[in-house]
Amino acid sequence: MGHLIANAWLRGLVHGALLITVLMTAVAWISWFERKFAARVQSRLGPTMVGPAGLLQPIADAFKMFQKEDIIPRGADSLLFRLAPPLTLFLSLATAAVLPIMPGMLASDLDIGVLYALAFSGLLAFPIWVAGWSSANKYALLGGMRMVAQGISYEIPMVLCALVPVVVTGSLSLSEIVKYQAAHHWLVFWPPGIGVIAFVLFFTTALAESNRIPFDIPEAESELVAGPTTEYTAIRFGLFASAEYAHSVVSCALASALFLGGWDGPVLPPSVWMLLKTAALFVIVTWVRWSLLRLRSDQLMALCWKYLVPVSLALVLGAGAWVYVVG
């Protein structure tokens, strides 16, 4: 499909701008969906006042975020304190650049798409730690330390599980993987036992990367008040919250691209399929969030190093053997 805009730079810019606006509005209404879904789960009503069934609630929240007072604690390292929230949002949006929304529609069709995405999402632990350290608050520091520990240790099983589709399809580029899945069969089913386990593990580690329950140790409300984001107010906190939502949406999209065959689907147009799969995965993320308790930090580490890493290593070996045998 010829690209509408000849100049590659301009096309990347337009795609990027389009992607960010779509993603940010999606993040806003995702917070509405999460509050409504949580309310239903807890037999409450959820937002109903602002707009029909509370649909304008995200706008009200955004407006509240803008007009609240922006406090920077006196002892804080103000440069890093100001830098952390935009950096987190930048990293989570950057990973969206390689997501194959439609066959041609791709912000930048990198041939090392998977590596790029995992690298950026792995980097996310850094700005949150910077936020924790720079806000001169002991709870924030503890939260930041926990974030680093969890972020790094869950990066390894995530990368290994992402390797399984790469090994099977033989290419790192996301659009290639999706084309392979469109041609053959979805990678969830293809290497029969291995694909499903890889998908489940990738999904849980993605939960851990984006600090969602049951892995939200850094931002544990009942222990560390609000973890690294304790001292943040108004729009800075808004940036952190939207970054967290953006990151979980992007990792759901990544999981659906890697395992559930991206935009491949029988009847509906390709981009609708991609959105449907991401939305389905995000519903599961929210559903898990409102029904599970939280792990302790040392249990979390034990779970990662004793179970997830060996299993994901075995998966990669299995996938390799499978490719070698079946070809």
């Binding site: 239903r40 037999s43 409450r44 009503l45 006042m49 559903w287 029904s291 599970l292």
Partner: protein, 165 residues
């Protein structure tokens, strides 16, 4: 493996909860019906002939644990029966400190002060919460769903000699 089965079990239990109707209601639009014995605010009552019940005996002022009732009495002939008897000239009840313990209602010899089922509307200044005498009589007039309890009913309830089947 145990993690997976237990997680699925709690997931489905939340799903079952979410399919039921929510128990909360949108408060200002839908008001949940309260118990008939609800006691929220206060009112001063008048007897059948329209004469004020309160004779200014200050029993309620003495019994109030948080000392929020203040009244001054005056002796003057009653506009209806003509006999001179005690009246409360100024009766204020400060709802800010009131703990709604219903002792003043129980102690009143002439069933003058009674509790009302309608919550006092929140005001913007502290004075809104101080019930002055005319506000109290106004509450009584407007028949704000007077609560079941006045001194005689409470006394009958608590009567030691009460024998019933």
């Amino acid at each position: 493996m145990l993690y997976l089965t237990a997680t699925l079990q709690s997931l489905f239990s939340t799903l079952r909860q979410s399919l039921k109707k929510p128990t909360t209601v949108e408060y200002p639009k839908v008001v949940r019906p309260r118990a008939p014995r609800l006691r929220a605010s206060f009112a001063l009552t008048k007897d059948a002939a329209g004469d004020e019940n309160c004779i200014g005996c200050k029993k309620c002022e003495k019994v109030c644990p948080s000392e929020v009732i203040a009244l001054t009495t005056v002796k003057k002939p009653s506009p209806i029966t003509g006999k001179s008897r005690g009246y409360a000239s100024d009766f204020t009840l400060n709802l800010q400190g009131c703990i709604i313990c219903e002792l003043c209602v129980q102690v009143c010899p002439t069933d003058a002060i009674v509790m009302v089922q309608d919550q006092e509307k929140p005001g913007f200044s502290r004075e809104d919460l101080v019930l002055t005498m005319d506000k109290l009589y106004d509450n009584g007039e407007k028949k704000l769903r007077l609560s079941w309890a006045n001194a005689s009913v409470l006394a009958e309830h608590q009567n030691p000699e009460r024998k019933h089947a």
